[in-house]
């Protein structure tokens, strides 16, 4: 099966702390921080959107892969905040990374898992020899209704992955991928609506946990693997608590999920969430390490991957901009008014 030949990530520099949002709504910040296991989140700059984040991540992925962008035969962008309702983000990305015009492109939407769905599509195209390399990106500037619990977590960021099948280029083999999917109305946003609506606690058990747990178990069944076979595990991270609980239910330790658990300090980057977690884990993984990745998208479904890091990873590491560096670099803390301005909620008349 095809493997990962390069990846890249991007995070905005702006941050807002839970305390700053809680102050506006008279919420108990410490209760929220403990309840959601989150302390701050990223906020897009006024000149950033899902397309600019996707391009920055994609350019880093091409550089990391060390391949000519012209050999990328497919570009998929998963997001629930595509800048246009009609006009693809993927065409902006293909032009900005310079694939040339002989390329398959499409925008994908499956709540927070459209990016991992794109990886599965790219694997199929590469394995069937229809293309040499395929790129999938998860990128979002996600929306949270003011005063809603989501406002504390909905953040911005993205990651891009390139898959190919040249053995000497693959930094991580994708051994198996499966999906667990159902029609579950846990979270949605209607056409033209500014903010998503969710079913409160219903998003937990019937939504997140049912799909994440079952997809992971299905992967174990089909590969014959068990949690102790994996050095690391990455789960979709709508908050800091859900992935920790899912890991515990499946039998993973805190150490196994630690490198990829980013939501407590960057928030929920939606389509970027599990992919940024995988990028952060690959940043520190060594040859031979096994990684489980299980994404989740409301509506609902999970994609699960068994990934094995190869010896090529060290040779390419110097070309990576690590996720940890993006988290630390140039952080700018903003107040709630600036947050509203950056989100486009207030403007000069």
């Amino acid at each position: 099966m095809a493997g990962i030949v390069g990846y890249g990530a991007h995070l905005p520099i702006y941050r807002i702390k839970v305390e700053e949002i809680a102050k506006v709504w008279n919420d108990d910040a410490s209760a929220i921080k403990n309840g959601l296991n989150i302390s701050e989140k990223t906020v897009p700059g006024r000149d950033e959107d899902a397309a600019t984040i996707a391009v920055e991540a994609a350019r880093r992925a091409v550089k990391h892969a060390g391949i000519p962008a012209t050999q990328i035969g497919a570009v998929y962008v998963g997001s629930e905040s595509h800048p246009y309702a009609v006009k693809p983000t993927a065409t902006i990305v293909m032009e900005a990374i310079g694939t040339g015009n002989n390329v398959m492109c499409a925008d994908l939407e499956f709540a927070c898992k459209a990016g991992t769905a794109g990886i599965q599509m790219a694997i199929g195209l590469v394995d069937s020899n229809m293309i040499k390399y395929g790129m999938s990106i998860g990128s979002d500037t996600s929306q949270g209704r003011p005063g809603d619990a989501l406002e504390y977590t909905a953040s911005a960021g993205g990651a891009a992955f390139i898959v190919g099948k040249e053995k000497n280029e693959i930094i991580a083999n994708i051994l198996k991928t499966i999906s667990y999917t159902s029609d579950t109305p846990d979270f949605w946003r209607r056409e033209g609506a500014s903010f998503p609506t969710h079913s409160g606690r219903f998003t937990g058990e019937p939504g997140y946990f049912r799909h994440v747990i079952n997809a992971s178990k299905l992967l174990f069944e089909e590969t014959g693997m068990k949690p102790s076979d994996f050095k690391y595990a990455v789960f979709h991270q709508p908050n800091g608590k859900f992935p920790t609980n899912a890991a515990k239910q499946l039998g993973f330790s805190e150490n196994q999920i630690k490198p990829g658990l980013l939501t407590p300090i960057i928030g929920n980057t939606y389509s970027g969430s599990s992919m940024l977690g995988l990028a952060a884990t690959l940043d520190v993984a060594k040859a031979g390490d096994m990684i489980l990745v299980t994404s989740f998208g409301s509506g609902a479904g999970s994609d699960s991957f068994a990934i094995e890091v190869t010896e090529n990873t060290d040779g390419k590491r110097k070309r990576i901009v690590p996720v940890s560096a993006l988290i630390e670099k140039d952080r700018k803390y903003i107040d709630y008014s600036t947050y509203l301005k950056n989100r486009g909620s207030i403007m000069k008349t």
Binding site: I13, D47, T52, A96, K332
Partner: protein, 131 residues
């Protein structure tokens, strides 16, 4: 809402990727691209050249009284950047907390430049970011 023009569409490659050109006769590089080399005239042999976007600030200014297009962005910085691969280029400079000064090293980032109301196009462009 503006109607996008063909001239704008033709500038996408330059705006996204800093694609200028180079005269193969004398090696001079240009951005934005020129039809004829300033030095070689009719002996020009112009060919596309993609600049990697690395450079340093040679001049800058802070805009506090912006045109309507950027009324929500002020204050913001614009400047002239000397690209490592040749020409000097004008552009917006992202205030990322890094030092904006003459000599500051920058890279070309990809950002939104301008959004045409609620129904028009979104214009993407390079901006320079201190590194």
């Amino acid at each position: 809402m503006e109607k996008p023009s063909a001239s704008l569409w033709r500038k996408i490659k330059a705006r996204y990727n800093l694609i200028g050109n180079e005269c193969k006769n004398c090696g001079t590089r240009y951005f934005p691209p020129r039809i004829v080399c300033r030095k070689c005239g009719r002996k020009s042999k112009m060919s596309d050249f993609k600049f990697n976007g690395d450079g340093e600030i040679v001049s800058f200014t802070k805009i506090s009284v912006p045109p309507d297009t950027f009324k929500d962005e002020a204050p913001y910085f614009v400047g002239v950047v000397k690209l490592a691969e040749g020409p000097q280029v004008e552009g917006h400079i992202i205030d990322n907390g890094g030092k904006i000064a003459i000599g500051t090293k920058v890279r070309a980032a990809f950002r939104k430049m301008y959004v045409d109301g609620d129904e028009g196009l979104i214009y993407y462009h390079y901006k320079f970011e201190p590194v």
